[in-house]
Amino acid sequence: MLPLSLLNAAQNKPMWSSKNGETFNGHLVNCDNFMNITLREVYQTNTDGDRFWKLKECYIRGSTIKYLRVPDTLLDAVKEEQNRARDAGRGARGAYDGVHHREDAGVAVGRCAVAEGVAEAPSVSIWIC
């Protein structure tokens, strides 16, 4: 399972992120292939963990991220969706190229998992260096 497909699936879910040991906990709004992300309703914590700020929205450059913590429930959701996408790809592909179908399926993974909503909004956290 690709790390970025997991992250795509985490959209609209709360998450934690970190920068200089600072952490940002919030709901993932969007992310791209560089792992640049935007978060909403963010709680920022300083390196020592003794000061907190609340931000309406923030953008974090992917290169500054150290770790992301994502809800456990997402793993099963993404795996399931990938299996489904693969099976669908097999059926539709026929004698033609498999590549494009598979890429389509990859995009679908993120969207479907968001649409279905995994249990109650779990969290993703990001550490940034």
């Binding site: 399972m1 790390p3 992250l7 290169s63 770790y67 992301l68 913590r69 994502v70 456990d72």
Partner: protein, 95 residues
């Protein structure tokens, strides 16, 4: 070309640039060596008390941060009583 494929679904140990040690089951990776760990725990070493394990759950580690990935021998690992291990923590990389 070296690949992490052989580690997928195995229990692995990660050592990171900031000196942290994380064990977990490798759920996936990509071309940049970003790694997804499921059921992960951080192992915090100290000289004063035994090894402390902090559960982190599903965890995505940026490839930039990773220094080392190794496969864990589950049998050997479980035979070790972490409570009795006292060790200096690994310092962060200095540039």
């Amino acid at each position: 070309m070296s690949s992490l494929q052989g580690y997928v679904d195995r229990r692995v140990i990660l050592i990171l640039q900031d000196g942290r040690v994380i064990v977990g089951v490798m759920a996936g990776f990509d071309q940049k060596s970003n790694v997804v760990l499921s059921d992960s725990k951080e192992r915090i070493y100290s000289m004063d008390v035994g090894v402390e394990e902090v559960p982190l759950g599903l965890y995505l580690v940026k490839g930039d941060m990773i220094v080392l990935i190794g496969e864990l021998d589950d049998a050997v690992d479980q035979a070790v009583d972490l409570e009795t291990i006292h060790a200096e923590p690994i310092p962060a990389i200095r540039y």
